[in-house]
């Protein structure tokens, strides 16, 4: 396929841990990426999610050709611009203008186009007044603006961005997002690392979730983001799901084993065994936060939960004795795409 800009096959990366630089064979290796498979086609936008240290930056560096994979195949086609960390390749002693020229040269812009590129970049960055100051007198946000403006002017086939948008101020961030949207609409390809899930959902169609160096989940951005959020919520609230279910009825989904529902479907639950005492049924977030609760009618055997007002995400349904900690819990998941965040959809209207 010719429109495949990035193709990774079983890419692994290990760093030597040993202190001695002379040792060709380090005694121990720390593997940060294990057998990553990834493809990105022209016109696609992919986000990489993951905790700090999950290997996101290393993955981007391998794709950008700055780091070399320990094993596996890396194929990258076309021109690409990489914004990896602050002010990539800029020199603190040189002026903003000189750095723009140098950066464009490093990105392989032909000599006769450099003047035009730097002119456009200066206009985009809004830093013309500072063009002749050395970069060391720039604030970190200004450096990022310059870097982004350079990439925006060059318009590479592929744009690789590692969490740089976060440094710019609000208006520049908006300008960047706007530019990225037009870039994507014009057929550009984006690989984005960001902890800002709003940016991720706004810009990227697909996402991969990198967890401890492996791809834990990949696919539609909304689904991956939800799984990722659920993971964090579960980790924070894990203690509350420890069950203390003595004397409580069994709880199952009907049909049994089903845990995933698309938005609007009805979640059907069956209670197995008769309750001996008054019970409550609760809906919680994975973190344990209560969304809704009511006491169970006597001799209830089935429960139907319409999900039209639940936003996509993972939830816990819980049967417990009133006031007692813990109960029988079951997890389920609502899938779907939504630009609303939280747990519940609330009726609202806008007046203009």
């Amino acid at each position: 396929m010719t429109d495949c800009l990035i193709r990774l096959r079983g890419v692994s990366k290990a760093f030597p841990v040993s202190g001695s630089r002379l040792a060709r064979r380090a005694k121990s290796w720390r593997t940060v990426l294990h057998g990553i498979d990834l493809e990105l086609h022209k016109g696609e936008s992919l986000a990489v999610l993951g905790e700090n240290g999950a290997g996101k930056s290393t993955l981007l560096k391998i794709i950008a050709g700055v780091a070399r994979a320990t094993a596996g195949e890396v194929a990258v086609q076309g021109t690409f611009g990489a914004l990896i960390e602050l002010g990539a390749g800029f020199h603190p002693e040189q002026t903003g203008l000189e750095n723009l020229k140098a950066g464009a040269t490093l990105m392989g812009v032909p000599r006769d186009e450099i003047g035009e590129i730097t002119e456009q970049a200066m206009a985009f960055s809004g830093l013309r007044d500072h063009a002749d100051k050395p970069l060391k007198h720039y604030s970190s946000g200004m450096v990022v603006r310059l870097g982004f403006a350079m990439i925006a002017s060059i318009r590479p086939d592929l744009l690789i961005s590692d969490e740089v948008l976060a440094v710019g101020d609000e208006s520049f961030q908006k300008k960047c997002i706007g530019w990225l949207e037009s870039y994507l609409a014009g057929g550009g390809t984006l690989l984005l690392v960001s902890h800002n899930l709003y940016h991720v959902q706004k810009l990227c169609e697909r996402a991969v979730w990198l967890h401890e160096g492996t791809i834990r989940s990949a696919g539609d951005t909304f689904e991956v983001v939800q799984e990722y959020l659920a993971f964090h919520e579960a980790r924070l609230g894990r203690a509350s799901t420890a069950a203390n279910d003595a004397g409580l009825p069994g709880l199952a989904f009907a049909p049994e084993g089903r845990t995933s529902y698309s938005q609007g479907e009805t979640v059907a639950l069956t209670l197995d065994g008769s309750p001996e005492a008054p019970l409550t049924c609760a809906l919680r977030r994975l973190s344990g936060d209560l969304i809704w609760e009511r006491s169970l009618p006597v001799e209830a055997a089935e429960c139907e939960l319409p999900t039209a007002d639940l936003l996509p995400g993972r939830y816990v349904v819980e049967i417990s004795r009133p006031g007692a900690a813990g109960g029988v819990t079951r997890l389920f998941r609502i899938t779907g795409a939504s630009r609303e965040f939280g747990s519940l959809r609330l009726p609202h209207s806008w007046v203009q």
Partner: protein, 260 residues
């Protein structure tokens, strides 16, 4: 091809950057490039002629200062280029970690900038020598330039080699100072090869810089500007050495990011 268009552009960019860092942005600007060697020349003339009363038997006709000067600046260009270029990869670890760039451009540009700036001083020195009565023959220029080109190849090669090794063995930088001092004093630059004891002379002639120095003196001072086959062989060998060093650098550069 050895170099892509982008690599050439990056090399040119870095060359200019290094040159500016050295001298060109100072107060007196590019003047230092010429003033420093001329001041050095005056000091050597005073110290060696007035104090040491240094004489070289084979150079009685031309005098000690020209004898020293024609050999000294090629050596300085060579040694300075290598010593300044050696830490260039480690110093630019930030650049290498963030931008995909041909890493060999860093030592190559650093060495070239130093070499060219020193060479500019060399030209000034030669002009002053000629103006003060040293018979420097223009006929010797082709041979002299060929030897300078050999020096450049050797400087580039060693710069690439050492700058790559420096990544894995940071101590190398400290060893280079004494090493180059030893090399300087064992090369007949301040003295003639006749001063070396007979039994060691064969060994001294193995030093590639001995060959360069003696051929430059032949070309500029001793009226023997005719090319020998050995000169061409030396040029080819220097170029091959440089290419070998490029290959070694590229091999070593694969693991740079792990050690920088």
């Amino acid at each position: 091809m050895l170099l892509s268009r982008t690599e050439v552009a990056v090399f040119r960019l870095l060359l200019w950057r290094y040159a500016r860092e050295r001298y060109l942005q100072n107060w007196a600007g590019p003047l230092w490039v010429i003033l420093v060697p001329l001041a050095q020349l005056a000091i050597y003339a005073f110290v060696f002629v007035e104090i040491f009363k240094a004489r070289v038997p084979e150079a009685d006709t031309v005098g000690f200062v020209p004898y020293l000067a024609v050999a000294f600046w090629p050596w300085t260009a060579f040694a300075d280029a290598v010593m300044r270029a050696t830490p260039s990869v480690v110093e630019n670890r930030d650049l290498i970690g963030k931008v995909a760039l041909p890493a060999e451009a860093l030592p190559a540009a650093s060495a070239s900038a130093t070499f060219l700036l020193t060479l500019a001083g060399y030209v000034a020195v030669l002009i002053v020598l000629a103006a003060t009565g040293t018979p420097i023959g223009l006929v010797g220029l082709p041979l002299m330039l060929t030897m300078v080109l050999c020096t450049y190849f050797l400087a580039l090669g060693l710069s690439l080699l050492f700058s790559a090794l420096q990544v894995y063995a940071r101590d190398l930088n400290h060893a280079l100072g004494p090493l180059f001092m030893l090399w300087f004093f064992t090369t007949p630059i301040l003295y003639s090869i006749d001063l070396i004891p007979e039994r060691l002379r064969g060994l001294a002639q193995l030093n590639p810089f001995y060959y360069i120095v003696s051929r430059i003196r032949d070309a500029l001072l001793f009226d023997a500007p005719r090319f020998r086959l050995a000169d061409i062989a030396f040029l080819v060998a220097s170029a091959l050495f440089m290419l070998l060093c490029v290959a070694v650098f590229r091999r070593l550069s694969r693991r740079f990011e792990d050690y920088l």
